[in-house]
Symmetry: C2
Subunit: 435 residues, 2 copies
């Protein structure tokens, strides 16, 4: 069952039901997705998941199975069931382009429609954006710490099976080069990689037989995993079997800094000076940074990237910021509770640049019809149209959307000041200013 | 695309390809899922995801779309494509019943089949078990810390959209009472809950109008969210509108200990002595334990449960532990690398009890044909048949399987010594002994 429309918290439907009764369900409304802070006291965040959210939106329909469930469990009234049966989002959505950097308070997504049609998207929008952005937030730091050496995502087994595919996509957008996950290749066009695990060596009667079988099948350019028994012997066997033109070796255990240096020296002494070294054991952005001076050619990252490296959810929220009253006047609205207050009013955002470097995230409340024109003069506009009168903009979807997001990510982080790339906890790289 | 068969790391297929060439691909083999340690230095773990894994296994087929992708990208040889087209798992799988407690080294799942048919399940098995168990590992502590007060899962928006459904299921197995996620209700029969968010209050011209609409629709037994503006005023308005028979109020901000006490006193003073208090702001097992003396009636937990409360992946691995040689003899195999060694040989496990209390996780290597009989005399057998000659045992599937897992969880943790329920980091509650 692809029950996207039930990827929804029950209270969204009970709210619509009650609002239909009070006559407020169809008040024109605006919801905003934003983050109160950057997780893990990082210096910037990366928006990811937008394309996936739009694909979920395209299939967000209450079909017979979904309606039957809601009817049988008396979740909502018969009137609401009728309305849900015809549900199609017909409003507007604009937001930060996927791959764009964001900061606390950035209006990442603005959903305009009736209260009913917009509130029902709350859970699915946040699920997608919070997970995918958590991965991208971690991946961007790892890719940057690798300083041009390629990083591959191989954490599928440490995330639930659908998250694994989303993680591969988000990591690729944020600068990774490839993934081990075949479904991510099939769905999103992401390059896939991988050769063999320890079980392959253990299956064979000797390490040499395993290596020979791999080379016979994948060619001498393949990467051999050399640490099943003893690394030094494994490398010697690898070169004996493959010759000095072996493509690469992989190291998946031990003190990688030390092990990589020894492996490099041994490979060189065996004439395998072009054989590349990939390391893959429990890496995160800090471990990658610490290996900067080591003779490592490529990294494979698993658990830490798919779990957001200590911040497994990006902490974005979906808040009603404005709605019309019965008099047709727009009213900015926001919670006043002490630790979770929200800022009323629909917003647009520009990144203010000086000499090509970002200096401020400028957020303007759109209570003035000319604010958009004013905004354009202040810097680079950050919101793009995603859905117009219910029509999803195609260019953000599928593999093409992923490539667009990857390009946006590169351009966006190149614009950030140098402090943005410090790994230590700290303040956002630029301030968010509400003007 | 429900491409379960591509929820697979590329190297699994390249290994089969190379093993077909070396003539080892169809050696009878046994893979084992186990965890080297308990994440977060907890006292026990909870197996979750088994039923979901079996449902994924049932649909694990390389169809036209999957084969076309593999062919176009030249991932594997034409011979392997032919084999994949006919792939059906025809082996045996036994394992810990879903909901069972586990410890370091527990042989949670044993997959027996040819190398090829078993290795290809590595990623999907680990993805499901690692995520679902991470959630259950967190949820069991929260449910226990709540000491009988009901706990509901409401973290869908903090997990990716399919993980959210799996999380609701795992939390329910581990003792939660309900979820906000409608899809979890539809797919797995889990009770759903939820009434209204702050946006519902903000949509209306006054808090009183919002409360009135909710009561008109959901009845006076509903739960009103009272902290949109001012909690004291919110509670007064709630009782004015609903009368003293109001079912409940929800508090989602502030110092919950203090706020709950003030709310209880105010409700009592207004005659609403039976009105229940639900709290829902950033709770985890420690916060729940700290609210033990507070007049709280129910908890709602979001981020921390769906992200494993600091341990977002359970750290289980899938290792080849035994395989036949060409002579038909079984050989126990294991990695020897220093930090990731694995213990060779197929295993069975029993929980050794004294006076009904667990004292040891006893793991026996099955190199002796009588070991299973011996095991039965030592304690409670932990592995149950899940798949027999390719046939998935129905009782673990669907909503019925979830209820069975929930019962197993209760029985299993009731058997653990009292130390098991300490929240502080420490050693596993019982030792794992290999005999």
């Amino acid at each position: 069952m692809t029950d996207t429309a039930l990827m929804t918290d029950r209270y969204e439907l009970t709210m619509i039901d009650a609002a239909m009764r009070s006559g407020t369900a169809f008040r024109p409304s605006a919801f905003e997705v934003f983050a109160r802070r950057l997780p893990g006291a990082r210096r910037y965040g990366v928006v990811a998941g937008t394309g996936r959210f739009l694909e979920r939106l395209a299939e967000f329909r209450f079909g017979d199975a979904e309606l039957a469930f809601l009817r049988e469990h008396e979740v909502v009234s018969p009137e609401l069931l009728d309305w849900l049966a015809g549900y199609r989002f017909a409003g507007d959505i604009r937001g930060y382009a996927e791959g764009e950097a964001y900061f606390p308070g950035s209006p990442i997504l603005v959903v305009e429609g009736s209260f009913a049609e917009a509130v029902v998207l709350e859970t699915v929008a946040l699920s997608v954006l919070n997970y995918d952005s958590a991965v991208a937030n971690a991946a961007t730091r790892m890719a940057r710490a690798a300083k041009g050496r390629p990083v591959a995502e191989m954490g599928s087994r440490r995330a639930s099976e659908e998250s694994a595919i989303a993680a591969a996509r988000a990591a690729y957008i944020a600068g990774f080069r490839a993934t081990s996950n075949l479904a991510a290749g099939a769905r999103w066009g992401i390059p896939t990689m991988g050769t063999a695990a320890h079980s392959f060596t253990l299956l064979h009667d000797s390490e040499a037989e395993a290596f020979q079988a791999q080379i016979d099948t994948l060619g001498v350019g393949t990467t051999l995993l050399v640490d099943t028994y003893d690394i030094e012997q494994g490398i010697r066997t690898a070169i004996e079997v493959a010759g000095p033109k072996l493509g690469g070796i992989r190291l998946d255990s031990g003190d990688l800094d030390e092990v990589a240096a020894e492996a490099r020296a041994l490979l060189d002494s065996l004439g395998a000076t072009e054989t590349r070294i990939t390391v893959t054991s429990d890496l995160d952005e800090y471990a990658i940074a610490a290996l900067q001076a080591s003779p490592v050619d490529a990294y494979g990252v698993g658990t830490s990237v798919v779990t957001g490296s200590g911040a497994p959810a990006a902490g974005m929220v979906y808040k009603l910021v404005a709605r019309q009253g019965d008099d047709g006047e727009w009213v900015g609205v926001g919670k006043r509770s002490e630790d979770k207050a929200s800022r009323p009013g629909e917003k647009v955002a520009v990144r203010t640049l000086e000499g090509g470097i970002a200096v401020e995230e400028t957020v303007l409340v759109t209570d003035d019809p000319h604010v958009l024109e004013q905004a354009a003069t202040r810097g680079r506009a950050l919101q793009v149209p995603l859905v117009e009168r219910g029509e999803i903009q195609e260019r953000w979807l599928g593999p093409a959307g992923v490539e667009l997001a990857r390009e946006r990510h590169t351009a966006s982080i190149d614009e950030l000041p140098a402090e943005a790339h410090r790994l230590a906890r700290g303040e956002p790289a630029i301030p968010t200013v509400f003007r």
